[in-house]
């Protein structure tokens, strides 16, 4: 559906997006994740034809952004961050204007406006001026704008930023409903949101893709280094560190501060892709230490995100 190759964007000297390659299949809900300033919005803006890429190509179906950006714009519905709509217009007038530009007319247009009003919950506010609306309502008008022509691809830039928890749930439900049939690309820096709504997560940092996969794939990834917490009684810290260092699959052992007398706690960092717990158990079994604690630290999206996007 969408094929991005070597996409790059420079603002003067600053490289905001650095050779991104990405393939998005039809019907996927893709979450672009990254810290502020990572290049999410810039990527989306190039995808929707608002910015010209400095280098690289975007192909949507058979159209290239360089030759036929108008055709791509027809296929994509886009909601920029914080829905910058025409303030002075009535909601109905605005949506009608967009519908006409999207090539709808007459009965088909009336029908579509009606559907969208229902879908986005705009029934009661059609006659209101846009700048009197709350942020959540504006966002819903923006969603209606994006979905006007029933586009095959929906691009949403931080669709839930600045909304209250109830509104967030509402918008997410709308997105999930749309995502049953459409390709949705959304950017966010709220991890739980990506986890809750997206089939696939792409983490961007400093203009590069640093991870790409489903939440499950990311959290159980092959090259992740597992961390195991161990607690012993009747063992000295030095002896524990010494013994565990020799265990195959262990790459580092860090002693933790002692919390109770007689209790020794260490954190073991496993080698990438290796679960060292069986080996550790065998090594400990041969001693007379009492193992009171053995915990594999769960990898959540959050720990992965922090690991990948940390300033180093």
């Amino acid at each position: 559906m969408i094929h991005v190759e070597g996409l790059t964007k420079y603002y003067d000297e600053f490289c905001a997006v650095d050779h991104i390659d990405l393939d998005i299949k039809g019907g996927e809900i893709v979450g672009l994740l990254g810290p502020n300033g990572a290049g999410k919005t810039t990527t989306l803006r190039m995808l929707t034809g608002y910015f010209q890429p400095s280098a690289g190509d975007i192909r949507v179906k058979e159209h290239s952004i360089h030759q036929d950006s108008l055709a791509i714009k027809r296929l994509i519905g886009y909601l920029p961050e914080s829905a910058p709509l025409y303030k002075g217009m009535l909601v109905y007038d605005y949506l009608e204007h967009v519908a006409r530009i999207r090539g709808l007319d007459g009965a088909a247009m009336a029908q579509r406006l009606f559907e969208l009003a229902d879908m986005c919950g705009l029934r009661g506010i059609m006659h209101k001026t846009i700048d009197t609306l709350s942020k959540g309502l504006k966002q819903r008008v923006g969603l209606a704008h994006a979905m006007m022509s029933d586009p095959e691809i929906l691009v949403l830039d931080e669709p839930t930023s600045g909304l209250d928890p109830n509104q967030i749930v509402e918008i997410r439900e709308i997105i999930r409903k749309i995502g049953e049939q459409k390709t949705v690309i959304l950017s966010t820096h709220i991890l739980s949101e990506a986890e809750a709504t997206c089939d696939r997560i792409v983490i961007i940092n400093k203009g590069r893709i640093v991870a790409d996969g489903s939440t499950q794939e990311l959290t159980s990834g092959k090259d992740r280094q597992g961390r195991v917490q161990l607690g012993f009684m009747g063992a000295s810290t030095e002896a524990v560190v010494d013994r565990l260092k020799g265990v195959p699959g262990v790459s580092a052992v860090t002693p933790q501060t002692e919390e109770a007398p007689g209790l020794t706690r260490v954190q073991v960092l496993c080698q990438p892709g290796v679960d060292a717990r069986p080996e550790i158990y065998q090594a400990v079994k041969a001693t007379d230490w009492v193992l009171v604690e053995m915990n594999q630290e769960a990898q959540t999206l959050e720990t992965i995100f922090r690991e990948l996007t940390r300033e180093s």
Binding site: R45, T48, G49, Y50, L70, K73, R74, I76, Y78, P80, S82, P84, L85, Y86, K87, G88, M89, D93, H97, V98, R100, I101, R102, G103, H145
Partner: protein, 233 residues
């Protein structure tokens, strides 16, 4: 073309949903009406010449007010992004907005049609000259609108857009009265740049292709420059 018409439609309606349009029209009518009729009866001539001599400078002040928001506001609010990601070309957007500004100038002139109607009742008015004058006024408005649109595309600040456009338009309007500032060698060129000189020709009832070409090329240059600015962004 359909897209350009839709944008024209939206922009033109926008003028009349805010009170600013009515204020601009009211002030324009008050100023032209007062300046024109204060001397009209003294001159005892059934003609609109004095009304038309006001227009180059007045339009140079009014048209920037009309055009300044067209791009600057969209860029400032961010709706520019929405506009550009709809299936419209730069040309659709520019032509639509330009036509809206010219149409607003026409709306500004419509109430002043009461002047020739009134004059023709009390004297013998030359309708040919009057119609040529109105045509020239529209052409001049189009030229100024081109300049104003360009200024508006440069910045997100409407005030700056308005002032830049005003400086250029006022220069075009009064440059033929500042000829003593310029060296002899470029006097012809400077006179050619003057909107006032070209407009005065048309308002006399002389439809010379050079004058028409002047206004059309100023308008076109403005729109073309706007296109370049949009591409650059």
């Amino acid at each position: 073309m359909r897209q350009a018409l839709l944008i024209f439609n939206k922009e033109f309606k926008d003028y009349f949903t805010s009170p600013i349009a009515y204020i601009v029209i009211a002030i324009f009518l008050a100023v032209t009406g007062w300046l024109f009729f204060s001397a009209f009866f003294l001159n005892n001539q059934a003609e609109l010449r004095r009304f038309f001599t006001l227009l180059p400078l007045l339009f140079a002040l009014v048209m920037p007010l009309v055009t300044m928001r067209l791009f600057a506001e969209e860029i400032n609010v961010g709706s520019y992004e929405l506009l550009l990601t709809l299936p419209v070309t730069f040309r659709d957007i520019i032509v639509g907005k330009f036509m809206a500004a010219v149409a607003f100038a026409a709306a500004l002139l419509v109430p002043t049609l009461s002047y020739p109607i009134f004059i023709s009742m009390i004297g013998d008015l030359d309708w040919g000259v009057s119609i040529a004058g109105y045509l020239g006024a529209l052409l001049m408005a189009a030229a100024y609108a081109g300049v104003g649109l360009f200024a508006s595309s440069l910045t997100r600040n409407q005030i700056i857009a308005g002032i830049v456009a005003m400086v250029i338009c006022v220069f075009l309007a009064i440059v033929d009265q500042m000829l003593f500032f310029f060296p002899q060698s470029i006097l012809d060129l400077v006179t050619y740049l003057s909107a006032n000189a070209h407009f005065t020709n048309i308002a006399k009832g002389i439809l010379d292709s050079r004058d028409l070409l002047y206004f059309l090329s100023v308008a076109f240059l403005g729109l073309y420059a706007t296109h370049l600015v949009m591409e650059e962004k």
